[in-house]
């Protein structure tokens, strides 16, 4: 769908001629002429205006009554007055009315000092109130959720929070109860408002009615400083502003960037900052002495690490987790390739993709951007759950569907929260993404060749069966994609390309993409949801066993993460370097990794928390910076290079990690001559042909999409298909057992477990089952079960979900206890009651 490109029209506001795009609301258009019209309920991010607060009344020549500027689009030749006596009287009356029931407890209100109601009352208010009657009273403050406090006396009923819940996050939890003066914002039956995006209503509220519990009474606006950076919680890389007081982050606000986050944050990003300031954090280098990790001086830790790595030489391997910046990733591969001569560096969780496929999947010609999701004709969400994997995308997709009529197709094995908005949904067996892509490709080819073409017919059925999906549903989904239009965006999860058959899955995906999205066409293409925050950047800076910086060829090819684990478990690897990753927590194959960590002579880790694997097996731990302390760049899944800026000082002995890696490299005789964060960034931009010419100044606060720069020509050319593929293997038949699918929920993260405000969301293992399967096994919702396979087992609580395909069970990975990565086996598990 082409983006709207409205004509420019001219209108006058207070006698001043102003040019504005046609159809823009008057309240926005007046700003173009530097005329401010006060508003409370109007917020362009929330979509259609409601005109609830009446604050924006203006006089329009030719219309007898005053009009609301927030819901009146500008027209050519319109003459608007905002300063006449009639408008003034109306504004004063509205403010007097809004203040009738508003308690004047500004000194104790957290919003005081940054409150639109205060500001507008000073600017446009009547100055004195005639109201002497008692005000309306509610019990206050109440906890709307453990994260949000609600003060109903202060509420001016602007509907912003309710609209957010109903129309943006679509969790439909907040409602306005009662009528007239008795109205109040509430949830149904007073249930706590717990949702992935609930924190946004705090920022939306124009008065102090909704306030953050963790920020409650922590600081006033004049005590604090704002510091812009980027959240490293997930691949969404939302732009944030940290509120800092006395070197502590007290709050996270959104720093709106339409190209990235649209101005919304998820609750993990908004409240996870508390994990920067907890006692559990590692703030000194630790070395294991007699089985205990003890704090030591930096020199000792670095010397021991250098000795361990130097001794291991090429019998060493490194893994980088998602929170690694481009600079740290580049320095890490320099340390291993340059100083140690070891090719074993990886940033992907599972399996190795050929370089050409990386190049094809992220080719600038096929790259879709985040705003493309909003204006596409159709969006296919493939093998990912945006709300868990990259929450900001979830809101973006909902926005496109709701406002621009984007046709949404969802294909995943686990039921998705986007199902309700989708025009077509396909469920396939866990791990059968490749077969599904092949079936979809077949179905798309069938519709190309005309409906019901006899030759292809059996093939789609066969492939759909291999994927454990319904052939008619696959056809319906293919029809949605084929009939929508030329702008089709495929959002796929990195996990599709994981595992032994990841390569074939990637080819099958490229085949589908070739059928629905034209290469080089703006607004169409592929958008990956990486497994780690900076997954894309790390691949581009060469943290791959088979590619050097800039995806350049490398020989010899190193071991990918899973092979590295197996090799270490067999005793062939002497030193493991874990940069922001705990294999026991973040990677599949827990049993192998446990053996690997146990067997390796040295396990050197950078970590801000001692998770299980590090606590038990790490020999040297360097304290890692939190992301409010980091300096560097990261790359968004759509190719936007963004800059991280430190907001607070590093606590205690924490050192910049680029500095630690560069120091180690120097001690091992490979001086990369990086003396500052900016130098590290410059070296990265120098080393990667398609980043060429980037500077930190150019990146600024908004980042830059490198695929849109001329240097993108330096991206390696690759064949993007179509590929001839062998028939994908059949998904395992349950035969009484259940197929195991894993997922990682938005709350499965270290910061949720340590941040005091988020602790109540800590995930416990649950087995999601279809009611029919549960009945067959005599299980009910809430029963405790043991899920086992090949001798490994996990305890879980049964959760019945009718959306789960029959014959499958879903378990959560990435949690601290009873993680699904404990289970190994051929994708089939037994569920038995405890």
């Amino acid at each position: 769908m082409p983006r709207p490109a409205p004509d420019t029209i001219a209108f006058t506001v207070d006698g001043l001629e102003v040019n504005a795009p046609a159809g823009m609301m008057l309240a926005d258009a007046a700003k173009l002429g530097d005329v401010e019209i006060p508003v409370f309920c109007y917020e362009p991010k929330l979509g259609e205006p409601v005109g609830a607060c009446r604050m924006c009344l203006v006089e329009i020549e030719g219309i007898p009554k005053l009009q609301t500027a927030c819901s009146t689009p500008v027209r050519d030749g319109m003459a608007v007055n905002t300063q006449t006596a009639r408008v003034k009287e109306a504004q004063e009356a509205v403010l007097e009315f809004l203040l009738i029931n508003h308690p004047l407890d500004c000194p104790v209100c957290d919003k005081g000092g940054e409150c639109p109601l205060q500001d507008i009352t000073y600017g446009w208010g009547p100055g004195r109130s005639r109201f002497i009657e008692p005000k309306r009273h509610f019990v206050k403050p109440l906890a709307l959720s453990p994260l949000i406090a609600i003060d109903r006396e202060r509420c001016i009923l602007c509907y912003r929070c309710v609209r957010f819940s109903q129309e943006i996050s679509e969790d439909y939890q907040l409602v306005l109860q009662e009528r007239g003066a008795d109205s109040y914002v509430s949830t149904f039956d007073g249930h706590p408002y717990v949702a992935p995006f609930s924190g946004n209503i705090i920022e939306l509220c124009p008065v102090g009615a909704l306030t953050s519990q963790p920020y409650r009474f922590r600081a006033r606006p004049w005590d604090i400083e704002g510091s812009g950076s980027v959240c490293l919680g997930c691949p969404g890389q939302c732009n944030v502003e940290y509120t800092v007081r006395d070197e502590r982050v007290l709050r996270v606000l959104s720093r709106q960037h339409d190209g990235v986050d649209d101005g919304w944050l998820c609750d993990r990003g908004r409240f996870g900052y508390q994990s920067f300031h907890v006692d559990e954090r590692v703030t000194h280098p630790l070395v294991r002495v007699d089985g205990e990790l003890i704090p030591v001086a930096w020199d000792r830790a670095l010397d021991e690490a250098a000795a361990a790595l130097g001794g291991a030489g090429s019998d060493s391997g490194a893994l980088a987790g998602g929170k690694t910046t481009n600079e740290e990733g580049w320095l890490l591969q320099e340390l291993f390739r340059g100083a140690l001569g070891s090719p074993n560096v990886d940033s992907r969780a599972d399996g190795m993709l050929p370089r050409e496929l990386h190049a094809a999947l992220h080719a600038p010609a096929l790259q879709a951007t985040v705003p493309d999701l909003e204006f596409a004709h159709a969006v296919l969400v493939l093998d990912c759950e945006p709300v868990d994997d990259q929450p900001s995308l979830d809101l973006r997709i909902r926005k496109g569907v709701r406002r621009n009529g984007v046709k949404l197709a969802v294909a995943s094995s686990r039921p998705s929260s986007l199902d309700a908005n989708a025009a077509a949904v396909v469920r396939y067996a866990p791990g059968a993404g490749e077969a599904f892509c092949a079936a979809l490709n077949g179905a798309l080819g069938e519709s190309d060749a005309g409906p019901g073409s006899a030759t292809r017919k059996g093939v789609v059925e066969e492939l759909a069966e291999a994927a454990g999906a319904d052939a008619d549903a696959v056809r319906a989904l293919a029809a949605v994609l084929a009939d929508a239009g030329e702008d089709v965006v495929i959002v796929y999860g990195e996990r599709l390309t994981h595992g032994a058959r990841g390569e074939d899955a990637a080819r099958a995906l490229l085949n589908v993409c070739g059928r629905v999205a034209e290469a080089g066409h703006d607004g169409a293409g592929l958008l990956e949801v990486p497994a780690g925050t900076n997954g894309r950047g790390l691949r581009e800076v060469g943290v791959l066993p088979n590619a050097a910086p800039g995806l350049a060829p490398v020989s010899p090819v190193g071991l990918a993460s899973a092979e590295l684990g197996a090799s270490a478990a067999a005793g062939a690897i002497s030193a493991l370097y874990l940069l922001h990753v705990d294999p026991l927590r973040d990677l599949p194959g827990r049993a192998t990794w446990r053996a690997a960590l146990q067997r390796a002579d040295h396990v050197i880790a950078h970590a801000d928390f001692l998770s299980e694997g590090l606590w038990e097996y790490a020999t040297i731990v360097f304290p890692a910076e939190s992301y409010a302390e980091k300096e560097g760049t990261i790359t968004h899944p759509d190719g936007r290079v963004q800059r991280l800026r430190p907001a607070i000082a590093r606590p205690d002995a924490v050192r910049a990690e680029w500095n630690v890696i560069a120091d180690l490299s120097k001690r091992l005789g490979h001086d990369v001559s990086v003396l500052s964060g900016a130098m590290a960034s410059a070296r990265v931009f120098e080393a990667i042909p398609f980043y060429a010419g980037l500077t930190l100044d150019e990146l600024g606060g908004r980042g830059l999409r490198w695929p849109a720069r001329p240097a993108a020509a330096g991206w390696p050319a690759a064949d993007t298909g179509p590929f001839g593929l062998e028939t994908p293997p059949h998904a395992p038949t349950p035969n009484g057992a259940l197929r195991l699918g894993t997922f990682r929920s938005i709350w499965a993260a270290q910061e949720v477990e340590v941040a005091p405000a988020l602790k109540f969301l800590r995930q416990r293992q649950r087995a999601e089952l279809h009611p029919v399967d549960a009945e067959r096994m005599g299980l009910a919702h809430g029963d405790r079960v043991t899920v086992g396979s090949n001798g490994s087992r996990v305890q879980a609580t049964v959760v019945l979900r009718s959306g789960v395909p029959e014959g499958s069970v879903f378990l959560e990975a990435g949690i601290a206890e009873e993680s699904a990565s404990e289970l190994d086996g051929g994708g089939l598990v037994e569920v038995s009651p405890q």
Binding site: D105, C106, P107, V108, G112, G113, P141, R216, F217, R218, A219, R220, W222, D223
Partner: protein, 177 residues
Amino acid sequence: MSWTPGDEMLVVQRASPPGAAGGTYRAFGETLRGLKTTMSRLVEGPKTISYPEEKVPVYPRFRGRHRLHRFEDTGLEKCVGCSLCAAACPADCIRVVAAENTPENRVSAGERYAAVYEINLARCIFCGYCEVACPFDAITMGHDYEMSAYNRTDLIFTKEMLLDEPLERTPLRGEGE
């Protein structure tokens, strides 16, 4: 190398030194003129105030060391920790960290109270803006002006010190004094 003043040197012109008569007058005449004032005041008696045993009473609006107040009836602190004093302070000498009242621990009358309230009197310029800014009359400028200390950190007054009565009260100047 010696410094040569060049053209910019000023020539100071002095009067000629006084002669013998002039010198004598300067030594005795002028002294006697001054002693005349002393002698004429002698009958009034000494005016010395023997501080610190004796103190100068201050005017009611004298801006001395700050005081925080409690409600007389309930004993709760008037301060709600709103930080407006800190915002108004031109010397940036007030630090407020607020916390929330709970039913078990009720400190102030409002929802919040000042968990930390510090004034760095080494920085304070006694302008009284904090008193003007306070919406609850919780902070006022007292009459205490004895604030010397051996250590700068002793000049950081905490909430407890500010809430307490001053050890020795400064006399207040009465009407018409």
